[in-house]
């Protein structure tokens, strides 16, 4: 599964995207974020305030409850500021 990070999330984590292979117990976006945060301090720091983070699953807006089984990509990013 591909995980993408944008804006200050990308900067804090240090990569724009990465391929990850979480265990089967990681069933939702929320589980994925917790699993990443437990791996390394830079993830824990980036995900400190989860209320400031938005989610897309396979390029569609989603939330932390969204299942990730079988999805190709999950994106995590701050609220959008275009326009």
């Amino acid at each position: 599964m591909k995980v993408l990070y944008f804006a200050w999330l990308r900067e804090r984590i240090g990569v724009g995207s990465e391929d990850v292979d979480p265990p089967e117990t990681v069933a939702t976006v929320g589980d994925l974020v917790a699993w990443l945060a437990a791996r390394e301090a830079r993830y824990a720091a980036a995900f400190e305030d989860i209320s400031a983070i938005k989610v897309a699953v396979d390029q569609e807006q989603a939330d932390f409850d969204a299942p990730i089984t079988g999805v190709r990509e999950v994106a995590l990013f701050p609220p959008v500021t275009g326009g």
């Binding site: 804006a7 990308r10 390029q59 994106a75 990013f77 701050p78 609220p79 959008v80 275009g82 326009g83």
Partner: protein
């Protein structure tokens, strides 16, 4: 679908002329152009989510076309580094009457501001850079369309 994400600048006159020429019954063309406000900054960098951005803009445009009697709509959003005063975004719609055109253009901007995956980073005059915070007023602006009645579509 008339949605484009690009580094290059765009030609507003050509875009508006094209919308006006779509149908002989176009009577109203409304455009919104967003510019980089220049006070205190030396550059604005626009990041986006390639692939999702285009899908999001197309979904927003399709929703506007379904809600209002439009003959056409155009969304162009620039990415990369932009100078103060530069154009960032163009939203333009064509309709028979002005009421629908104004509402649809404002709807497109409100939804784009809250649903399209773009992020702005400002570089200040002292060289420091910061990500622009999302505005609560943008969320409330988008929310007001949820129960909106198109009361003025024949204006």
């Amino acid at each position: 679908m008339a949605v484009r994400v690009q580094e290059a600048d765009f030609d507003i006159a050509a875009e508006l002329d094209a919308l006006g020429a779509l149908d002989p019954d176009v009577g109203a063309v409304v455009s919104f152009t967003g510019l980089v406000r220049g006070s205190g900054i030396t550059a604005m960098t626009l990041e986006h989510y390639p692939g999702m951005t285009e899908k999001a803009l197309e979904a927003i445009e399709a929703e506007a076309m379904g809600r209002w009697p439009l003959q056409g709509a155009t969304i162009i959003h620039r990415v990369g580094e932009l100078a103060p005063g530069a154009r960032i975004v163009l939203v333009a719609v064509a309709s028979r009457h002005r009421g629908a055109a104004f509402e649809a253009a404002e709807f497109l901007m409100d939804y784009l501001k809250t649903r399209a995956p773009f992020w702005k980073k400002e570089t200040a005059e002292d060289g420091t850079a910061r990500w622009v915070d999302a505005r609560e007023t943008d969320t409330s602006a988008a929310d007001r369309w949820a129960n909106h009645k198109n009361a003025h579509s024949h204006r």
